[in-house]
């Protein structure tokens, strides 16, 4: 059985090439998102009425949309939205889920209540919940992040709770308890560090789910404000002219798929490297 610490960093990457490939692609996309103003040849909002629905060529790499905006520049800027949503949702859901899961795993009466609430939240289809929340509160980056986080937190909470319960009865935790160590110290020193590998894997799956959900929300018209260059928005606008100019839909779709794929490959690589049995997509 391989576990963390059973090899050097380069050894792990050599045995699980997915980690290197996924992390590399993701880093490249993060860089592109950060450097969007340098990479994008044109202003993503620049309207060129005479260059409407241009097919991809040397000037417009990904062609133009129905009001003549450069699809390549919009796609590059769209990476910013996806990266922000993915990172924010992953970090917030893991932290919230960690907190709720720890409480749930250690305080029995809260556990009963909290788990029923999580069951109920999971029963509401996440996409519908997110669309409803955004339709009610208004489209904005902040609301998109909040809505997707609400949908993702129950899964993380369950994972953390399961880990706490299995770790709680481990010998080293019993020993710490017997030695009179206080609960917060046990949590900090023994429980949480052992949960980091599976949480890291889960974070990658949450990131992937958040990126897809943001795209779906924007695509349906309940995501980012319509003027924002997000991949879902570009695809939604392109769908009316899909048969005439499929490039508007296809290029951002491809980039979106590659981003999600690299996160998933990274997550699967990490999972195989750590072998945390609890982590799953559900």
């Amino acid at each position: 059985m391989s576990g963390p610490g059973s090899g050097s960093g380069t050894g792990i990457i050599a045995r699980h090439p997915g980690i290197g490939i996924g992390a590399g692609l993701l880093a490249a996309m993060a860089l592109a998102a950060l450097a969007a103003p340098l990479i994008a040849p044109l202003d993503p909002q620049l309207i060129a009425p005479f260059d409407r629905l241009q097919a991809p060529d040397g000037h417009y790499w990904f062609g133009t949309d129905q009001i003549g905006r450069d699809v390549f520049s919009r796609t590059v800027y769209g990476a910013r939205v996806s990266m922000m949503v993915g990172c924010a949702v992953a970090v917030i859901s893991i932290l919230l889920g960690l907190l709720l899961g720890l409480v749930s795993g250690f305080v029995r009466w809260i556990d009963e209540v909290l788990m029923r609430v999580m069951d109920a939240l999971m029963a509401i289809p996440s996409i519908l919940l997110a669309i409803a929340l955004i339709a009610l509160t208004g489209p904005s980056l902040r609301n998109v992040i909040i809505a997707i986080t609400i949908a993702e937190v129950p899964r993380v909470t369950r994972l953390v709770r399961g880990l706490v319960i299995s770790l709680r009865d481990q010998l080293f935790v019993e020993a710490a308890k017997a030695a009179g160590t206080r609960v917060p110290v046990i949590l900090y020193r023994h429980i949480v560090p052992n949960m980091l590998p599976p949480l890291l894997v889960q974070a990658s799956y949450v990131f992937a789910a958040a990126v897809i959900t943001e795209a779906i929300l924007s695509f349906i018209g309940a995501g980012m404000p319509p003027e924002t260059s997000s991949w879902g928005n570009i695809i939604a606008e392109g769908r009316t002219v899909f048969q005439l100019a499929p490039h508007i839909v296809l290029f951002p779709s491809m980039v979106l798929s590659v981003m999600v794929l690299s996160v998933n490959v990274l997550g699967d690589g990490l999972r195989d490297a750590f072998d945390p049995r609890f982590v799953g997509r559900e």
């Binding site: 029923r116 029963a123 289809p125 996409i127």
Partner: protein, 313 residues
């Protein structure tokens, strides 16, 4: 088994109640006055008051919830603000395409994924196994609307053998019905196929390691008898569980697929209602989908007894 079933059924009650409270409370999340918002800019004060009263916003939260909850129990989900029709009637009218789409996607997913997973486990480590699992990762990563557009471009635009979008009821003939359903149900089924294939492979790998499999092979049973007769039966519980989970995942996917393919189902009804802020419809449909989720999970849990006699005790 009876005690287990009863306990499992009883456990759904608090969840159902919480779901109802959450769905109902969505209405109160909206900033500002929902009645004024619904009425629009030109509305008179009387009109706003009429909408307020029809939504019950002039009453307290509790009395409104009691009224709505009482209606739900009797099968009355209220009246659409937008069309003035009963929410249950609106849903009933849209049910057929959604059920057809969900069932056909699941059929596609199971037909592709279970044999693929079994084969991948049987030949674990081979290139077929690698290809199958590569396909699974890809299936997780390509969002359903992206796949939908690729399929439309290939099979409806470039190679026009299937319709681009729309829906034909099954009553209008099985041919047009199927030709309209193939692309959307395949697109929707791929994500679930990926999930089911992975789980099937993992469950089969576990079982294929067992001694009784070696015995079965040593007896000279054919590969098919070993794989399907012995191994699959013992790997059934995780596979059935994941098929159930994927069925509940379809509910979210339906919303997107119906939008891409312009299918007049419950998913489309939901999106339209949300975009128009038609609260009674939003509450009704989300409640319906959540109930479907809860009862499906209940059915999955109760079905374990069918596959493993030890659980029946």
């Amino acid at each position: 088994m009876l005690e287990y079933s009863l306990r499992r059924i009883a456990a759904t009650v608090p969840v159902l109640l919480l779901v109802a409270i959450m769905v109902f409370s969505l209405l109160y999340l909206a900033p500002g006055d929902p009645a004024a918002l619904l009425a629009g800019d030109q509305a008179s004060t009387e009109e706003i008051e009429r909408i307020r009263a029809s939504l019950g916003l002039d009453q307290s939260y509790l009395s409104r919830f009691a009224q709505w909850g009482g209606g739900v129990v009797r099968g009355d989900l209220g009246v659409s603000v937008f069309s003035g029709r009963a929410v249950t009637a609106l849903i009933a009218q849209r049910l057929e395409p959604t059920i057809a789409l969900t069932l056909m996607s699941l059929l596609f997913a199971v037909l592709i994924a279970v044999p693929l997973g079994i084969f991948a486990a049987w030949r674990a480590g081979s290139w077929i196994d690698r290809a199958a699992m590569g396909f699974a990762v890809l299936g997780f990563s390509v969002p359903v609307f992206v796949l939908s557009y690729c399929l439309i471009l290939l099979f409806a635009v470039e190679l026009p053998i299937l319709p681009v979008q729309g829906y034909k009821p099954i009553m209008d003939g099985i041919g047009p019905f199927l030709s309209h359903m193939i692309l959307p149900s395949f697109a929707l089924g791929v994500l679930n196929a990926a999930l089911i294939a992975r789980t099937t492979r993992a469950a089969m790998l576990e079982v294929l390691r067992q001694d009784y499999i070696r015995t079965a092979q040593a007896k000279g049973l054919s590969v098919l008898r070993v794989l399907f007769g012995h191994a699959l039966k013992n790997a059934a519980i995780p596979i059935v569980t994941i098929i159930g989970i994927s069925f509940t995942m379809l509910i979210s996917g339906v919303v997107v697929t119906e939008t891409v393919f312009n299918i007049p189902g419950v998913g489309r009804l939901t999106v339209d209602a949300i975009l128009r802020r038609d609260y009674p419809v939003i509450q009704g449909v989300i409640l319906l989908f959540s109930l479907a989720y809860v009862f499906l999970n209940l059915a999955i849990d109760l079905s374990y007894g069918l596959f493993d006699p030890r659980i029946r005790l």
